[in-house]
């Protein structure tokens, strides 16, 4: 299914002009969605007759910006700006690129004076809220967890969205945000620890109905904690991963609903924008939202197989770019 705001994406055709697109491969072990995105960018660029120039970096702001600056020296026509650095942080790179006549496009992040494809965080929040409210019939207590605030903006936006939606429901209560440390730590354990003490603090079985985790390792931790204390509560998740989906698929897992950002779709769109920009087609500096995929427990198994096949293709294709 698709999200409304995501539907108006322009139809782009290649006018055959050869284009060199620069892309930094800065995904790490936990960033498989990001890799699927890169895969589709590469695929689209190839299909539309463009040439992809990549630099293999590390999953960090620093490395991402380094890669971007290095790409500027590679005779590219278009630079794809990635996910770790915010619009402000890449402004100087964009300015430099434009000075050199290189076009820029943002991938899952806004870029100064450039078009971009965005993760539809608000939509995700809304979808999540929508599902939760229906599920709980708009009454009960819920708690959210995600990585430390400020560490990854989309999470913060989704958390805020859900909090806001809950505010308007008189019979719903949102407990204080449970912060889940950062990706350099053992987030599954962290998620478990947080959830354990949360459950301690709310020993009454119906004092907590639902846990929303916006980052899958924290979700798995939460699920483990529930099992350990054998407590019943619904768990909802954002972001697919093999582990998450296989966990979710298992019947006794409390994970019942999950949203995801279809990076592959976003990647395809970024690829198209890049080609269009490179070929001098006129592209407004607008940001386009990505549709949101969301599944319920019964769809988990199927989603997993899809995901696996996509990952295999992604790895296969990106190998030739040192992925």
């Amino acid at each position: 299914r698709k999200a409304v705001a995501a539907d108006d994406f322009p139809a782009i055709k290649s006018n055959g002009k050869k284009v060199k697109v620069g892309l930094g491969l800065n995904y790490g072990p936990f960033n498989q969605p990001w890799r699927r995105g890169c895969w589709q960018i590469a695929k689209t660029v190839q299909e539309m007759g463009g040439q992809l120039v990549t630099i293999r970096g590390e999953p960090s702001k620093q490395s991402e910006q380094d890669a971007a600056r290095q790409l500027l020296d590679r005779g590219i026509d278009v630079l794809v700006l990635g996910i770790y650095s915010t619009e402000s942080e890449t402004a100087y790179i964009v300015d430099d690129a434009h000075r050199r006549g290189i076009k820029t496009v943002g991938f899952m992040v806004n870029a100064k004076d450039s078009p971009a494809v965005l993760e539809d965080t608000w939509g995700t929040g809304a979808i999540m809220g929508n599902w939760i409210q229906n599920k709980l019939q708009r009454q009960g207590t819920i708690v959210q967890t995600a990585e430390d605030r400020g560490f990854y903006t989309p999470f913060d936006q989704e958390v805020d969205m859900l909090t806001l939606m809950t505010k308007y429901e008189p019979r719903m209560k949102m407990l204080p945000f449970m912060t889940g440390s950062v990706s350099t730590t053992d987030e599954i354990s962290k998620g478990r620890e947080n959830c354990l003490s949360l459950l301690q603090a709310h020993p009454d079985p119906n004092s907590l109905q639902l846990i929303t985790s916006w980052w899958w390792p924290l979700t798995i931790g939460a699920a483990q904690a529930l099992q350990q204390m054998n407590r019943k509560a619904i768990v909802t998740n954002h972001y697919f991963s093999n582990q998450l989906l296989s966990e979710m698929a298992s019947p006794d897992s409390p994970i019942q609903f999950s949203t995801d950002v279809p990076y592959h779709i976003a990647g395809g769109r970024v690829g198209q924008l890049a080609i269009a920009l490179g070929q001098g087609q006129d592209v407004p500096n607008d940001s386009y939202m990505t549709p949101i995929s969301f599944i319920s427990k019964d769809q988990a198994a199927q989603a997993l197989t899809e995901l696996k096949s996509m990952d295999d293709q992604a790895i296969a294709l990106l190998k030739q770019y040192g992925g």
């Binding site: 072990p29 449970m178 912060t179 440390s181 730590t185 987030e187 603090a201 020993p203 296989s246």
Partner: protein
């Protein structure tokens, strides 16, 4: 002269003993008192904090961190640093998960711990015979292992079959109210404590850390004991890794690094406990407990991320400070 030393010694003893009566207790217990007070604070703020089952949860949460920190204690005691312990947890966890399907869980564990010891050995050799700076070489080791972990996993988790009941019991089982891993932790601690207080190894590691030159002159095989310290540190981290694998029925490709800072905090916080002023296992354990107690307490009271960190920091400084201020030796010239 015999005379003079006698009564001077006597005097000193006298002076000391009366001083002890006054401050001694506080000196020994300064940090611990702070820990207890903080605990009470939380107990007051949240009715559910002071419960047995929460105490169990804290213990359960701290297991891996405690093992890593205890291991680090030996290296610090020997006068070096080990930055690779965090990643060792991950590497060993991965090794275990990979081996289980092929060798069964018993051999898998043994194999994984052997790997851990091997890593420790390499660290030790680099720092001694190869004469490398402990910080740089273990940092290098940290990167190397990070890479190896990627090779082993391709960035995916390595699942442990839910059917591995016996293995999963190690991390998830319970004996009565107490989690089985907590018992494991206790056992390891007792062994480690005996090792460091009663055994030759512990004694010599301490001597080397205190004054390598004196140790060397008195015929102690300095290098051997430094290497042993590194092996112990890796081994303990490895045990942590095994238990972590069992707890989460899987091995994650990354994440272990997170234990590093915690471990350092625990060891150096622990060094101030009981007024010892040098790292010791009990102190480290209490240090870890303190850190996890605080974090659990803050979860219960449900305070914001910002306040959480602030509190964390202040309470840490306070705990060490309480003790430092009481232990006023003549001149204080140690800044690490």
């Amino acid at each position: 002269m015999a005379g003079t030393t006698v009564n001077s010694a006597a005097e000193r003893r006298a002076v000391r003993s009366q001083a002890n009566l006054a401050l001694g207790i506080l000196k020994r217990w300064g940090t611990i008192i702070v820990i207890v007070l903080v605990g009470l604070l939380f107990a007051v703020l949240s009715p559910y904090f002071g419960t047995v089952s929460n105490f169990n949860n804290i213990l359960f949460s701290m297991i891996v961190s405690a093992l890593v920190s205890m291991g680090l204690t030996y290296v610090v005691a020997a006068g070096s640093f080990d930055l690779s312990i965090g990643v060792v947890v991950t590497t060993v966890s991965i090794t275990t998960a990979l081996l289980i399907p092929h060798t069964g869980w018993e051999l898998a564990i043994i194999g994984a711990l052997v790997v851990a010891c091997a890593i420790g050995l390499v660290n030790g050799l680099l720092v001694t015979y190869a004469r490398l700076s402990g910080i740089v070489s273990t940092l290098g080791m940290m990167f190397v292992l990070g890479g190896i972990n990627q090779y082993l996993t391709n960035g995916y988790q390595v699942p442990v079959d839910y059917g591995q009941v016996a293995f999963r019991f190690l991390g998830q089982g319970r004996l009565g109210p107490i989690g089985f891993p907590v018992i494991l932790l206790a056992a390891v601690f007792v062994l480690g404590h005996i090792l460091s207080t009663r055994s030759r190894a512990g004694h010599y590691i301490g001597a080397v850390g205190d004054n390598p030159m004196a140790a060397y002159y008195s015929g102690i095989l300095v290098y051997r004991w430094v290497i042993v310290a590194f092996i112990l540190s890796a081994l303990f981290a490895g045990i942590g890794g095994v238990i972590l694998t069992s707890i989460s029925s899987s091995a994650q490709p990354v994440g272990g690094e997170g234990y590093l800072l915690e471990a350092f905090a625990a060891v150096f916080l622990g060094a101030t406990i009981l007024g010892k002023g040098k790292p010791h296992l009990l102190g480290t354990l209490l240090g870890v407990f303190f850190l996890y107690m605080v974090s659990s307490g803050m979860n219960m009271v449900g305070i914001s991320f910002a306040t959480r960190q602030l509190f964390n920091g202040l309470v840490l400084i306070l705990a060490v400070g309480a003790n430092a201020l009481l232990n006023r030796e003549e001149i204080h010239l140690k800044f690490i």
